[in-house]
Symmetry: C3
Subunit: 200 residues, 3 copies
């Protein structure tokens, strides 16, 4: 399958996977990597150095910067905002020029693990890992690492419950509770995590 | 009066009322309904299935989805974000495909009653009714139904005061207090609500 | 140096300073003033009447309205939202038309002093002064005046610490503490403020 690109979109990257769709007024810079079957909504922007996996849904106006990696099957809600600098100043200000000369001085990396959902207008602070299948509520501001399957709400975002891979809220912990909606068991959920993540 | 459409805007809908203006880089999908004398600011997006009344002001970058209805005379501030799914996952993830096959499984509807104002960068969670002439403060995250004439602030948004139809804050309840700015009385305010809303 | 304008950008202003760059899908209205060496990211919007100084970095999707002035060397993070009306209503609603006939009735001015940083997705309420070199955290909602060098976080934003001109957090007050990162002393910091600001 080919890539579908709206006539008004700017797709400068040659690393967009098959079956992906890029909608109106989107800008994908050269050097951005997108997997297959990715959907990018209107007015989104994906910077050189950003990495997006397969089957990811990127809704309208999402901004994905260098230093941000999004694994397979994630949902990035409308107007979700990533960041990559903990102490931003204008690089054009004389006192800041030295700091911005080398990325090691400012670039903080973020990774969004498989199957995560980021709600509408949520903000992800720099240098954070979002655990697999977590769900960030609309309007939340995430200021630290997020465990897998965690539902995070508020400013700053707090861990208020766990969710299943299917998205439904669980009455208990993700590693102890079966899902009555999709039938996934706690054991299956644990097996779906990679070994590295199980220790979170 | 005809519809004014900026040369860079994409207006695929043929249901835009007379006297409306659609500004730069806006996308109005086929199947979106807009009333007369509506103003849509730059980079806004209005999805198929969205319904917008007359005399509505839609500021820049507003996102209006299927399932969202906005009645007459509303102000939708810059970057206001609507939502329509309580448990979003990527529809491209295998475990989610079944749920997204039928809208009854995920589509939560929102209605914004006549004369309401939604402040800049506010987020409206799914499945909510915003009462007539309410005012949502800038940056608020609205998580439940809003009474008419209510001023809502914060994350999650709390009802902190009442406002008049003219937008000014009232020193008391909307159904007991006259407005010293525009002269509207509490009795007139109650009459302006439809019978269904008076019972809120 | 000339101004660099992306082919998809709309730059109607003839007051953009030399060395500035305007990127994709940006709209700069006639009557907006931009200084020299300003960078404006994709999908930003700068309204007639907005004033932007020199060496300012304006990231993607920023909205700058009439009544907003940004001094030299500021960083305006992605999706930062300004506002200019404390009681917004649709100007198309009959009861509001009179109020919107004259700007004196609604226009609230905001000034962002030299060297300030506004984090991603932060919202600036109307009629506010942001003190020189302040830093607004990502996702904050600023509801009142901000002292110089103040780090503001949360909704509503609170003053949680002071920062240096270089952007690093200080262990004490800006007017009493030297910076171990860039070497700026408290005395130098005070001298960098204009006399009017020292009294804040």
């Amino acid at each position: 399958m080919s890539v579908r690109i709206h006539p008004t979109a700017l797709v400068e990257s040659d690393e967009v996977g098959s079956g992906s769709s890029i909608w109106a007024f989107v800008h994908v810079m050269k050097g951005a990597q997108l997997g297959s079957n990715v959907n990018v909504g209107d007015h989104a922007f994906i910077e050189a150095g950003a990495i997006v996996g397969n089957n990811v849904t990127i809704k309208n106006q999402v901004l994905i910067w260098e230093g941000v990696q999004i694994e397979d099957n994630c949902f990035i809600g409308p107007r979700a905002t990533f960041t990559n600098d903990r102490n931003p100043r204008s690089p054009r200000m004389p006192i800041s020029k030295e700091r911005y000369r080398d990325k090691v001085n400012w670039l903080a990396r973020t990774i969004v693990r498989e199957g995560s959902s980021i709600g509408a207008a949520a903000t992800i602070c720099p240098g954070i890992e979002l655990g697999a299948y977590c769900m960030i509520a609309a309007g939340a501001v995430v200021t630290g690492n997020v465990p897998p399957f965690a539902l995070m709400m508020g400013v700053p975002a707090k861990h208020v419950a766990d969710v299943c891979a299917c998205g439904q809220r669980l009455p208990g912990r993700y590693d102890e509770t079966d899902c009555k909606y999709c039938g996934t068991t706690a054991a299956e959920r644990l097996m779906s995590l990679s070994p590295a993540l199980k220790n979170h």
